[in-house]
Amino acid sequence: MNSFLACQLTLLLLNADAASIDFFEAKIRPVFIEHCEKCHGSSKQQGGFRLDSKDHFFKGSDSGPIFNPTKPLESKLLKLLHYQSELKMPPKGKLPDQVINDISEWIIKGAPWPADLKKNPNAIAIANQDHWAFKPIKKPAPPKIAQPSLANNEIDFFIQAKLEQNKVSLSPQADKRTLIRRVYFVLVGLPPTPQEVESFLNDSDPQAYPKLVNRLLDSPHFGERWARHWLDLARYADNRGYIGVGVDRTYPYAYTFRDWVIQSFNNDLPYDKFLTYQIAADNPKSGASKSDLAALGFFTVGRRFINNQNDIIDDRIDVLCRTTMGLTVTCARCHDHKYDPIPTKDYYSLYGVFASSQEPEDLPDLGLEGSGPEAQEFQLELAKLIKEKEKFETDNAEIKVKEPRKFSESIKPYDNRIKQLKSKHPGSPPKGMVLFDRPSPVEPVVFIRGNQGNRGPQVPRQFLEVVSGANRTPFKQGSGRLEAAQAIVAPQNTFTSRVWVNRVWAHVFGNPLVKTPSDFGVRSDPPSHPELLDFLASNLMEDHWSTKNLIRQMLLSSTFKQTSSPRSELQNNDPENSLLIRMNRRRLDFETMHDSMLAMAGTLEPAVGGRSVEMFTPPFSSKRALYAFIDRQNLPGVLRTFDFALPDTHSPQRFITSVPQQALYLLNSPFVQEQASKFTLRFTNTDDHFEKVQAMYRVALQRSPTKEEVSSALEFVEASGPDGFKQLGQVLLASNAFQFID
């Protein structure tokens, strides 16, 4: 067809007459709605095609136009309907001939279709402006309350004000015995010893409680407890997941990331630096030191998806954006985010950042070379292996020249032995699982519908528009990771500080203010206490991003010190206790349970940090659960059973389930039985059964037993023979009193 005729046809199209439109509305559109729109409409766009509007119809599918204006009868649509191509539409069965004839007739006329009703293109933008998490953080003044005497600090004003609106008040303050147990578990994840309880009870100083909080914030075990919260977000594991049979999957240095997180919490590394180092410690401008290189494990300890690069990058974008900002950016991998203002282009801007980063073949030392006997032993063994290798080289110098391939094969075992020693020996210098920038950064393109083979427009490496605004500038420094970090910790970022406050709040109080801690998008519920969230977020930034101060503020509030008994007042209106009329009662999670049992056994190892250890087979390690080697491919059953964080993807919150497999573990597992046995053996200094029961209670539950408890216990021991106390010990460890924090 020549261009003149094409022109004519175009004119024809523009003048779609009323009759043709009627024909379309009567015969064609209903067919589209009935047979096509389920897969090609507003909710789904198979093949990138939809025909619920004129614009979309004429735009065509991912593989091109569906309608051919110059040769209408050769339009792809007709081929599909006639079942003439490999792709057949609709897939369930050919349309009746009459219907296909109608569509052909309509196509020949130039597919007359009335103009779409124009939606306001800014509708989404306007809706987004109203979403709370996109609004700037302003520091509100604490509200006035009727009973200011109940408040210990600003937090209480916000909480009590809401309670007063519901005509109720904070619960009374918990007794000191309850409080010390609660504070211990929140801060260090361990129970207090009877001596620690007694000295707190006997401390009549009005500052006794703040002193206790400060002491525990300074404890090296604080970092252990809080590191584990972070490792949930960072989907920490000690191996890369399935990458084939018989391939070593281990990450021998994942532990250096874990230990870095512990130390950062212990040192109260300001949260903005804490994030920046995890994103870009390799960049000298980040201010990080050599040992901070371990922080980059944040990206590299993830699953490797049989080494699929796109999936690895997707995982890194996900862990970055959900952890730091509660943004579900990976929804935009295949299409613009359905709810949040995150276009696919922004996803690929970040894709470019990670595609421009690489892991070096040889991981760098962290400059933390140990001294001590282990390090010496390592150096000796290393020297020995190097010597052996050198000897082999000298002995085979001839082969090396004549048969280089054979030589390089035969020397491999020597290299492997050195590698093994370095990665396994406890005295070997720790290395960081780093990311470095590639020498020349990658200019990313959009992969249409997430398909790498289907390349769309090029996009610059830059940050998300929803954070950095429409006037953002492309990244200039290498991969752009440092600039991304700077955008995340910028004071005007509306997410970062709120997200962190919300997470810390959840760990301290047992429930978050925003119910979806890793999704602050438009579908998230507003915070239960929006002003409080903003108040604390502003405070955090003013206070140089001190996490310890944030936690301290929460622990010193009257809200935290309340009793936890359910109250009838709000039970129907607020069954989840989001108004905090009482403290939340909590069950020990896997780690606190495991560690408490070791503490009861008296064998808990106090040393902080170190290589991951096998924790689930005898002989059992005495290290805290935090140091367990986490096999993400075949996660030990006990971890699954106790709702451990899935180490495959970022884990915003742990589930809390109560299932018989947990009880089976407490009743029958060799670990629990061993700890119960050791626990009981601590009380052999007395033969007096009554005294023994008293002492066991004081250690296990930090209180004396009631009369009824004593008589039940004694009766049981008497009836159970020589093993009675051991069984009683196990009962105490398995009891609700032990397993719950009031």
Binding site: K44, D643, S735
Partner: protein
Amino acid sequence: MLNRRMMLERSAIGMGSLALGSMLQSANASEANPLAVRKPHFAAKAKRVIHLFMNGGPSHVDTFDPKPSLEKYAGKALPTDNPKTERKTGAAFPSPFKFQKYGQSGIEVSELFAKTAQHIDDMCIIRSMHANVPNHEPSLLLMNCGEARLIRPSMGSWLTYGLGTENQNLPGFIAMCPGGYPIQESQNWQAGFLPGIYQGTYIDTKQTEVNKLIENIRNKNLSLEKQRQQLDLLQKLNSLHAKDRLTDPILESRIQSFELAYRMQMDAADAFDVSKESKHVLEMYGPGVQARQILIARRLLERGVRFVQVWHGAGQPWDSHDDIEINHRRLAKECDQAIWALLSDLKQRGMLDDTLVIWGGEFGRTPTVELPTPGANAGKINGRDHNHHGFSMWLAGGGVKGGTIVGNTDEFGFAAQDNKVHVHDLHATMLQLLGFDHEKLTYRYAGRDFRLTDVHGRVVDDIIA
């Protein structure tokens, strides 16, 4: 030793049952127990599933999809190009096995499954299955989780999440594989981002002692009677603890979980103990580990387990790149009789009507012979490569239209041709039979509502009775 009934009576006067009473009244009961029975979207035709997983990829042209045209080209190139599979394949390779018509429907099945074929009129053979790629790992994950690489819950996890389970004294989802894991390991029955309790409980059916089958199922130091006394003390202390704390469902559900655990010890021991079956039944299933695990599966289904997956063996047993005649014959012989027995047994017990039986691998095999590839096969030129373009699976029971064939492959059995059924479509259909609209059984995670079929899947009406 106390019998089960006495045990139940005893525990009924213990603390746990009191707690159970108040827990059922509590609004949070289902929240507290993630495995409580839940209703699906609409009336279900199937209530439970057994998936016989022939891992490695059984050859469809040697089992359920006869291709006489291959004879014509035996040893010669096919007139059409061999589609791309994992490795190079060569000439047409007619099946060394004889096919024969069975039942009223007269559907042809090869001699490999001559016994199973006795039930052909209850079976729906899908001959137009297809998947995405010719590799084990992604195909296993696709078949189990509806996604080839990323972290997604497996179908058993979705079902226990959707339906809970009928017997709280046993795990709701059990994956059995003798001798170790299949390829891709426990990811095949992963719960993904669903709570860990929905993960399949793995059982190494090579073991015969019950305490080696399920973790912590036995106390090595205490008899059940002694343990009951210990548990009574525990529950007494727990009730004293609860007395000061008003009604708190989180305390009560934990009390209850101990009673369930106690019963699980007996029920599990009982469920896995095939020696309790009559001689007649044991003979019906035949000897060997396949027979034993398929019989165990029946016992589990009978006791209300929601989803049982029976894997043929560790690694990828059906992966006959070489010696397919010898290997397929051996593998089929290991399970044919037991599968026949399972179908007969379910039928006799009236369970076939609401039990969905699924048979298949992660893909099929090429109708052409695999060419020698050093390091990849033994170079015997008598095996078949992987084939995801077309393969067969069969369903039976639970609302399935028996004695039917759905779809077909091309003349030589290389690729699915008519009424193609993708793995997503199989999942959609399976969920439909179990009472779910596959687009509505969702779980919100990371800002998205996920489902087993992702953005795909169509219900294949021809499969449904």
